[in-house]
Point group: D3
Chain length 312, copies 6
């Protein structure tokens, strides 16, 4: 069935959608209106509701499922939705939030199982214990959070999806370059972004928390490793090296790592993270472009447009 | 009495000095020699010992007190000492290390007392408890460590000297700008560099530890605050804000702070730290320059030379 | 009494306000309108007047006092005023411009007296004579100009307010670091921005003059010192050092100083200027934020948002 | 058998070595000497020959095999060789250049065979034809050249060694991210540095040619692709995309690519190149470091030192 | 006769204009409209057509000549045209495209003749043959293309106009600095931007081609020189030096030159290109400004405004 | 007759030379020596005098003419002179300083006459009066100073040589771009570096003065224009524009101009200055290189080496 982002400019839609975000506004001339972001599994689009009342504001909140009729038009190079009809979905219509939010292709349980399998290739007990302890402590959130608020893996269970993809890439690298220490590399991959479960507000309508703003997921996670080691009575270099892996994974001071990588595995963790994030962004942008044309500019890829070849 | 740095180029010396650092070398033509850095309270100078033997290496180690005769000469714009006679000091000559190492002008006990007085101006019990706890935990090292391996306050008890000077400046600012929160500001000043007692190796012959290299004093201290709060059962915003104060005190990501200051007091902490360090460097460099001339280039001040006016 | 910036979004106002700025416009569809910035002592807000005539343009000029009824609404994260009724104030209503423009808390006379008191701590006659001469020459403007067109101390008598605040901070520093030369430091603080009285157009509706654009207040002031010295028949290093203080007070070439500070006092002048400007911006931004929230982004503070703690 | 780089400071050697580079010098006091770089398969070290004559200059040229006795000493943190005895090797001693120059672990024939196998996974005939044509044209040089004059893969057959390693990594990525076009990716990997066979002077004593300096291997190779397409009568997007792959593989303008990657495969080529080069540099530097210590600073890795953990 | 850009804000026009660009849009409230850019020889202005139909879209395409009545108004600091009446021009009205598009002042034939005269001052036969060959190959396009899509010489025959102006400047330089090689300098000037005839789509409605985006005019032209040399059987340094001239003419890697200039003539080519482009931009911007005022900000001149003196 | 820089490595010399600079040194082992820079019209070379006495220091001062025998050798890629015999020249040998210092090819009188001729093309009386006044005031120094302490035009009368060369280039530009105002352009060229006569110490053994360091030639000259205008009772825009020309001629804040050019003529002045300085550096460097080779790296040209073609 055709989804929201499958429609072209000029086409009409009649779809169940979820309100991802709703903001009140007032036109410069004084009439109230609302800006809503509507989504289904294919992605999201912005729309306006004009001449709205307080009742509309009550009804059309983030998280509400609605049935919407309208057309797709283009505004400053981006598609928008022009709403012609909108009403809240009725319970008996049987549409649930899970039907409308994008999520990883594999279920979080499958992903978690795949992740756990990587422990079989590890041998250092201290590193394993700390990693397992922190996974267990944050398991629920870790399985449902996105990896980011936007740009890449920004959907429900996006974080674990990203981590499992990175583990597979890590394994390929460790096979090609056998001098890499798998304990450090895999544990680093698993833990590097777990701090996001405290930095961000939750899987839906994700925002930065105050702690996220003031400390950031890197520092949060280094603290977590420190406390885990204390709780588990683990001392020794492993604790410090795991902290360094997390600390340095942004690669440069100006990208938020207070220390640059000083372990071979930390250097590789930074690359693996980058490649997996960029492949995710590129696949998404190229899926919207036609052969022989360029994608929209992709801001986190230095605002570049990418070309989609005419042959496969 | 005239000290090492009081002598001009061309003058002869006959002084007791301590060997700060000793390194073996071999000339490109193959003769062994030693490079020694000799110091007294006024500062240090480099010298060479030529045609040395294994016995010399044994005798002239870092920490040894020696009596040295020689002249001051200039080499590439820096003064050096040319040794004409050197022998280890004898015990009966009564010279001790404490006579020869530079240190803060006030004793560490006096400095600590001055520091403790600032708690009377604080009122938030959580912030006070964490700060006192960490001071107590690291008291011995905190009272003797330098603030840095070189550049500023790089002498025994330099760290507490720097902190007390910063507290006085902090108090002046808080008086002029009463909206500043003294609890956060004073605690931030006291704690900001305590992590150096783990980052650095000790008060003499100071070097970076492995943990110092891989984690850095900022991260080390944020961990310490986390553990202190846990141990003292303190929860709430104060913990996070203290961590942010420490985290952001370098002011910019490229200077090692994973987050820029987002508290007014954190912004001021960064300034206070800077001003006190720079005044220390400037006073030291200008004390070696003559009126109407420029100082040597000061690397951490963007390699600038400063002018010493001819009038006072 | 509640002032303009004390009203929240959704509240109605009925206030006397001054038109700070008025600009004609034509909608893309061709109807004339006006954008007016209205202010009282608490600050200013933008509003639109729709379907305006030439008569409106005549009536609603910058400097006019008006009585305005309307509501506060939000537009792109900033508050705006929606005007429902507007008319020029009548003379018998007794509202004056002085009632409506923000200004320093202390009167300019009090500030000037405070400033003059600092001369008692100076001892170098040349420096004093040049400084007094230039103060006298530009006294009227110096007492009424803002320190900047926006960002900090951008109100009537903002310049002298900023300077007196800096002098107090300078005195605190000179007390803590007695090696600082008070003559240079105080004269540098007093003179550093006097060139703004030529760079900017006046205390109200402040804009850059052509000379301000082409030469800038730094160069203008260095010229003024040159001419003052000539007129007063003063020669010697003091003239050059005062010029260097002014020249270098932006701290870096890329910030408009053709030379970086090469005097200890010049380095400190740059810090004092920065701290006082930043405290002014931070206090202003934080006064509009609620505890537990972040301020708007502050552009000249590298676009950062600052957090307002929940405790005092 | 112990090789040149296996000896520690203070140990004596007696080895056959090849002169990699020989430079005449004159001491500031006027005596002639020679600086020679001596190597065997383990790497190279610098040494001095003092008081040399014209006959020495004749005898000890680059490429000469010599028997050397001497000791290892340290000079400014780097090991050097102090020569005590040196003479040209005699033919009957049976030492050949191939015994003394470092080279890839696998033979160039094996590497070439491995490379050719990747064509079986490609399907686009134009891309294959151009790639095979250029490989054939430059086959001899391509099989023996180093990938660089220093830093990574800077040994005989280093270029093909680097390319085969990159192909294996490319295959792993293409398996994990199936949207990658293997034709473009593999051809890009194979061709990206073939221009080095014109940019550099040869497999031994490698230097930049004039053409290498003025045009660079990127431009040289884009020209080669243009001419190959013309010769093979191939038109169409494939030619342009292959040129873009080569053109953009340095990733940024400031690193010598006139265009940044605008193809997903070009973006990945840049990453693959980077990872393989960095792993080569890291493995080499870490092999010289002891557990629990840091490597020498590695210039092309932003001058960082890397830590070698104490556990495996 | 008064032309489009000669009218001031508030004046009415009645002119024949050409539609340079036409874009469909839909207001956020859903009504279709068109944005058209209208031009005559004096330049272009934007205008809107409201409530448009499919028939309008058909009628008002790029390239259509129309008769337009309306007024000039200002929008965000830029002039716009408010259309009151518009209709396609009739054939019998006798207005042609050539009457309405800006173009070089001299005809392309005159310019080409002037250009060819420079060959008389050249003496190296290889350089001349390659240059003549490429001129002949691309003559038609070279004579009609603009030098850029906007900013400078962005009109029909702008490229040759720019080149001839550069040649005159090159001749002046070669006269003042006789060590400059005229063969390299003139050939470099003539060829440096010929690649634009492939990078850009044509003389009117100019856009980047896919090849232009992926390879760029610099690389395209280096390829052309390579092929020309092959076709003409020319070998030797001249080919490489011509390629280097073209390659390096942007002056820095970050501006798209993979090599910086390494020939004196290449360094000068970069300057000549810059001066001629900037004089063109400055003359254009200053012609729109009044004496005693500043121009609009000029983006490619680092967004500066320039002052127009009150005296001549 | 063969001059100092005409000799190759390995050749012997016997020449009269002038000591340009003489510095005492002490070897690390304690023997006194001197480093002297010796020059004739062709340029300068460094040499050492070993085992020197106080008498040598007296005899071999800067400015002394000596007769020297020795050989040219190479040290770290630069030629040096090895002195075998040296003695002060005798008066009766008739060698004067003027015979040995490099200077402009034309005499300073001829240059000054050429410069004065440019006033005939100027028409604005205010600009002429200020320019003539300042030329007259500084005429003696202006005619003998170098344009810089090194890099370009760093010889006696180098400043006026540079200015006259720039005027010729300025005239060529004004002829090609007639919209340039010759009054501003020529006066800007003449005055732009006159401040160097105060920034630098003199024509021989040139160093920065204290005023040069603290204010810089740009600010010095802007002051001079201010005072000239006052003295001549000239008011009006011309004064400000001349100051802006001087102020902005370094082109960017980071290069020491507190304002970027905002006049067309100021923009061109920056280019003219650059071109003339670079041509001077390039001609000098290329004169020392052989055809088919690269020059030494030229630091102020971003450390590039330039290629000297094999053909003319």
């Amino acid at each position: 069935m055709k989804k929201l982002l499958d429609y072209q400019v000029g086409e009409s839609i009649d779809l169940y959608l979820m309100i991802k975000q709703a903001t009140k506004g007032i036109t410069t001339k004084g009439s109230p209106f609302m800006t809503v972001i509507l989504q289904d599994k294919s992605g999201d689009l912005e729309a306006k509701l004009w001449d709205t009342t307080d009742a509309h504001v009550e009804t059309y909140r983030a998280g509400t499922i609605v049935r919407v009729g309208g057309d797709i038009h283009e505004y400053r190079g981006k598609n928008q939705l022009r709403i012609k009809a909108i009403r809240p979905a009725k319970e008996e219509e049987g549409v649930t939030i899970a039907d409308l939010i994008p999520s990883s292709e594999k279920s979080k349980e499958v992903l978690f199982e795949e992740l756990m399998a990587f422990f079989f290739e590890m041998k250092n007990p201290q590193i394993q214990r700390i990693t397992r302890h922190l996974l267990k402590k944050h398991e629920t959130a870790f399985k449902t959070y996105p990896a980011a608020t936007r740009n890449h893996h920004d959907y429900v269970s996006g974080l674990i999806d990203h981590v499992v993809s990175m583990l597979n890439l890590g394994k390929a690298l460790a096979d090609l370059y056998p001098s890499l220490n798998k304990d450090l590399l895999y544990a680093g991959i698993i833990l590097h972004d777990v701090g996001k479960v405290i930095e961000l507000s939750g899987p839906i309508g994700t925002q930065y928390t105050v702690e996220g703003n003031l400390l950031g997921h890197i520092t949060i996670m280094v603290n977590e490793i420190e406390k885990a080691a204390e709780e588990l009575n683990i001392e020794g270099e492993e604790v410090m090296l795991l902290q360094h892996m997390v600390l340095s994974h942004h690669g440069k001071e100006e990208w938020g790592s207070p220390k640059r990588p000083m372990l071979k595995e930390a250097e590789m963790l930074h690359y693996i993270d980058n490649i997996d994030a960029k492949m995710n962004m590129l696949d998404r942008a190229l899926s919207q472009a036609k052969p022989g044309e360029f994608t929209e500019r992709i801001f986190p890829l230095e605002n570049r447009s990418f070309y989609k070849p005419t042959f496969e």
